[in-house]
């Protein structure tokens, strides 16, 4: 590896750590530095790599101010290289964020196929996880579960079962079981994920596991524990600017308080949730009367 590549690999590793710690601005800044360096060296391969990394980071930040067609050009230009896998993966993620699920699935399958062909096990597991998340959004829980299980198996074979990536897949698998009302089967996967992410300092990835446990506890009628996980999820959602987590946390907490008979607390969370829907003034009244939990998919 050349000195240049070593330097940029260090930048990438530092940026990845920043993402897991929730410091997206720093990660973005590092990737943009890398991109500028790659361009100044006229190294197309590295430029493509940093372009993909930058796009993925922006997506994590709920931003789409990058050139999606540029990612597809990379895919066409590098059909048999790791950059092609990364470009397909980032394209899938971008379409997922836009709600274009069929296109997202196409690119996720492309990323999966290419990563298998190139024997990039880590990316194979990541692509499976992405594809499974798309299945989850479409309520195809059994199919999602099988993909998550395979992804987790692959990570464990590589000795990465206890990594941050392994924790995320474990949480997703746990959620599948919880959504299918196999709460007792799913909870250990989610608990394992929380414990791992906590020990690895990946706080920003703990929001969904906390939300999943809140949902599980509500289903089991273990309301005190549900309240505690819901409060944690809400705090993390607010801290890292995840609107979907915040809204789901408010809803689940309101349901928990309503079931407890703590009407005032429930009302606070229904009110907070209703504030997101100013064109639906009657929403809070409906929520006081109707439970949506049986139809709710936290990953949709």
């Amino acid at each position: 590896m050349t000195e240049r590549r070593k330097h940029l690999e260090f930048l990438r590793k530092t940026a990845r750590d920043a993402i897991w710690a929730g410091d997206y601005e720093r990660a973005l800044s590092l990737y943009e530095d890398g991109l500028a360096l790659a361009r100044s060296w006229k190294d197309r391969d590295l430029e493509d790599l940093f372009t993909c990394n930058r796009a993925t980071t922006l997506l994590e930040m709920d931003r789409q101010d990058f050139d999606l067609s540029g990612l597809k050009e990379i895919l066409l230009r590098s059909p048999t290289s790791p950059n092609g896998v990364l470009a397909a993966y980032a394209s899938a993620h971008a379409h997922e964020v836009r709600g274009e699920l069929a296109r997202a699935t196409f690119y996720a399958q492309t990323a999966l196929q290419k990563s298998r062909d190139l024997r990039l096990d880590e990316w194979t597991a990541a692509s499976m996880n992405l594809l499974a998340n798309l299945e989850l959004r479409e309520s195809r829980f059994e199919s999602a579960k099988a993909l998550f299980e395979e992804a987790l198996g692959r990570l464990e074979e590589r000795g990465d079962g206890l990594s941050r990536e392994g924790a995320v897949v474990s949480d997703n698998l746990g959620y599948c079981h919880i959504a299918m009302d196999r709460v007792e089967v799913g909870m250990p996967y989610v608990e394992r994920a929380i414990s791992l992410l906590d020990s690895l300092g990946a706080r920003q990835a703990m929001d969904y596991p906390c939300l999943d446990l809140c949902f599980a506890m509500l289903k089991l009628d273990r309301l005190d524990q549900g309240e505690s996980w819901g409060i944690r999820a809400l705090g993390l959602g607010n801290e890292f600017g995840r609107e979907d987590v915040v809204k789901n946390s408010h809803y689940l907490l309101a349901e928990i308080y309503a079931t407890m008979g703590r009407a005032d607390r429930a009302d606070e969370h229904y009110e907070a949730l209703a504030n997101y829907y100013p064109d639906f003034p009657a929403l809070k009244n409906y929520l006081h009367q109707i439970s949506l939990t049986g139809m709710l998919n936290l990953r949709a």
Binding site: S139, L283, S291, L292, G294, N297
Partner: protein, 135 residues
């Protein structure tokens, strides 16, 4: 012993007054859609899901996010009684009560709500009393 007796007399005081809710389920969505004379195609377009997904939703197989669930409630624009499947509407006495309630101060409204809660708890604790009252 005295405290024990007090608990026996007020069994519901220790139990939180939980809100009784109706669960939204697929079959109810189907009924409401038909009640509003909407085809699956029309409703699916209005809530932003594919028709095949709405079909799965009505069968209880397809779960969605809060945004879609709220769109569904908004499309149906339900009166709560309608959701519960009740056909009767509020009579003139009920409507008068609501009008008077709306004319109260916030503090007074809170007192009314507290009183209604108290009466409901009392009724749950001693259901025979409410029967006697009626008679």
């Amino acid at each position: 012993m005295g405290a024990f007796m007090a608990q026996q007399h007020f069994p519901d005081m220790a139990i939180p007054l939980a809100t009784r809710k109706v669960n939204l389920v697929g079959s109810r969505i189907r009924e409401l859609r038909k009640g509003h004379r909407l085809t699956q195609m029309e409703l699916s377009e209005r809530i932003g899901v594919a028709q095949s997904d709405l079909s799965r939703m009505e069968q209880g197989e397809y779960k969605v996010g809060l945004d879609t669930l709220f769109k569904l409630l908004q499309v149906f624009d339900l009166k709560i009684g309608e959701f519960f499947g009740e056909s009767e509407t509020a009579g003139p006495e009920d409507r008068e009560l609501v009008t008077e309630y709306r004319g109260l101060s916030d503090e007074a409204r809170q007192e009314v709500r507290d009183f209604v809660r108290f009466k409901k708890m009392q009724q749950q604790a001693r259901p025979e009393d409410s029967t006697e009252e009626k008679e």
